[in-house]
Amino acid sequence: MIQVKKLNKSFGRVHVLKDIDLQVNESDVVVLIGASGSGKSTLLRCLNFLEIEDSGEIYIQGQLVDPRKDDLNRVRQQVGMVFQHFNLFPHMNVLENVIEAPVQVKGMAKEEAKKLALSYLEKVGMADRADAYSSQLSGGQKQRVAIARALAMEPRVMLFDEPTSALDPELVGEVLGVMKELAREGMTMVIVTHEMGFAREVGDKVVYLDEGRIVEEGTPEEIFEYPKEERTREFLSKVL
């Protein structure tokens, strides 16, 4: 599904990602964990080419992507992304947010896009708020709309960057619920999160990043119960 080989990325003189190798299989849920600044967001953004790697290779569906030559707009259609701060378009209502890309990017007919959009809004439980603007929604509702918006492009994989960390504690559950449902349906997902309980429940693979390096990866059980590395243990002792 996605394969990353020897990925390196620096910002100026800061070497943020170091020789990252990562394999994301079809229908896998991969959870990235690590301290603030360890490079989790940067890695996720590289998978979507919002950041362009300095060296290394990224294969999407077995296809090597050359960000300097390939049409990234096409690649990105296969890789949906959900951000910490939702980034709903505030000048559009919920429905318009969701149909925007299908209509403008894929050239889908408006009526068809609406049907599609409503089906995804239904899935995240937001169909009844289709007319609302983002300023009228709670954080959890915004995030669910953002998920529906990404899903409406029917991507092959979904990336989530701390999707619940800007939410009030009581609103976290509704968003995690939607994500669990997606996992159950077999969606391939890469998730950066601090919700360790959730990671344990839905993750097929947990990857621990420290200072731009993958220190350890394995099943949730391996990582949370029997971490091999001292650094992993130390990190987990702080966050669990």
Partner: protein
């Protein structure tokens, strides 16, 4: 002579001049908005020469007094054959002046839109261009309305300077009236009142417009 008398005796010429002031303000602000849009795009474009051009324009206009620009436009340019009547020269100078400020307003508004908006749009597969047109500009335009309104009011007051190139606008008429009736105190006070009323009306209209454009509640 008192206020009342001066008010009555100047009324017809001041009212006529009010139209001149409104006309010259409106035309120059239309020109300024167009220039502002163009140069805002120049400034955020990735083409260096366009950036330079925009920077040069903005630096010169913002670095020199409006009255010098007006004098240059009317007297200076005529000398090298660019020959405008005073109304046209006034509109051109005021418009080009406002354009530099409006360009900065638009640029600031565009750059104030959260980076996440562009990223969200790109992550959905939208091109830079499409994202700009559909996502960034509509939000930026809305956000630029308050400073734009402010700039419009500045433009209204700035228009008074065209009196010195012979336009019979509100202030131009005040100069002539005061020179004829020798009642400087009353004449300028009344003249100021006309401007004040215009500015207050203008402010009211702008506030209404802003509210009207905000009905969808679609701000962050």
């Amino acid at each position: 002579m008192g206020f009342g008398e001066i008010f009555r005796s100047t009324m017809s010429s001041f009212l006529e001049a009010t139209w001149v002031t409104i006309e010259i303000t409106a035309l120059s602000l239309i020109l300024g908005t167009v220039l502002g849009l163009v140069f805002a795009f120049f400034k955020i474009s990735s083409i260096k020469p366009l950036q330079w051009l925009a920077n040069l324009y903005i630096t010169i206009i913002r670095g020199t007094p409006l009255i010098v620009q007006i004098a240059f436009f009317y007297f200076g340019l005529a000398q090298i054959g660019i020959n405008m009547d005073s109304f046209t020269a006034g509109v051109a100078a005021l418009g080009i002046h406002a354009g530099a400020y409006i360009a900065e307003i638009f640029r600031g508004a565009i750059q104030s839109i959260d980076r996440g908006q562009m990223e969200a749009a790109r992550s959905l597969g939208m091109s830079q261009r499409l994202a700009m047109r559909r996502i960034i500009l509509p939000q930026a335009f809305k956000r630029s309305l308050p400073p734009l309104g402010n700039q419009f009011i500045i433009g209204l007051k700035d228009s008074s300077l065209v009196a010195y190139i012979g336009v019979s606008d509100l202030y131009g008429v005040a100069l002539s009236e005061a020179a004829a009736n020798y009642q400087q105190f009353e004449t300028y006070a009344i003249n100021g009142l006309y401007y004040l009323v215009l500015v207050l009306i203008f402010t009211l209209l702008l506030n209404r417009m802003e509210k009207r454009l905000d009905v969808d509640g679609g701000t962050r």
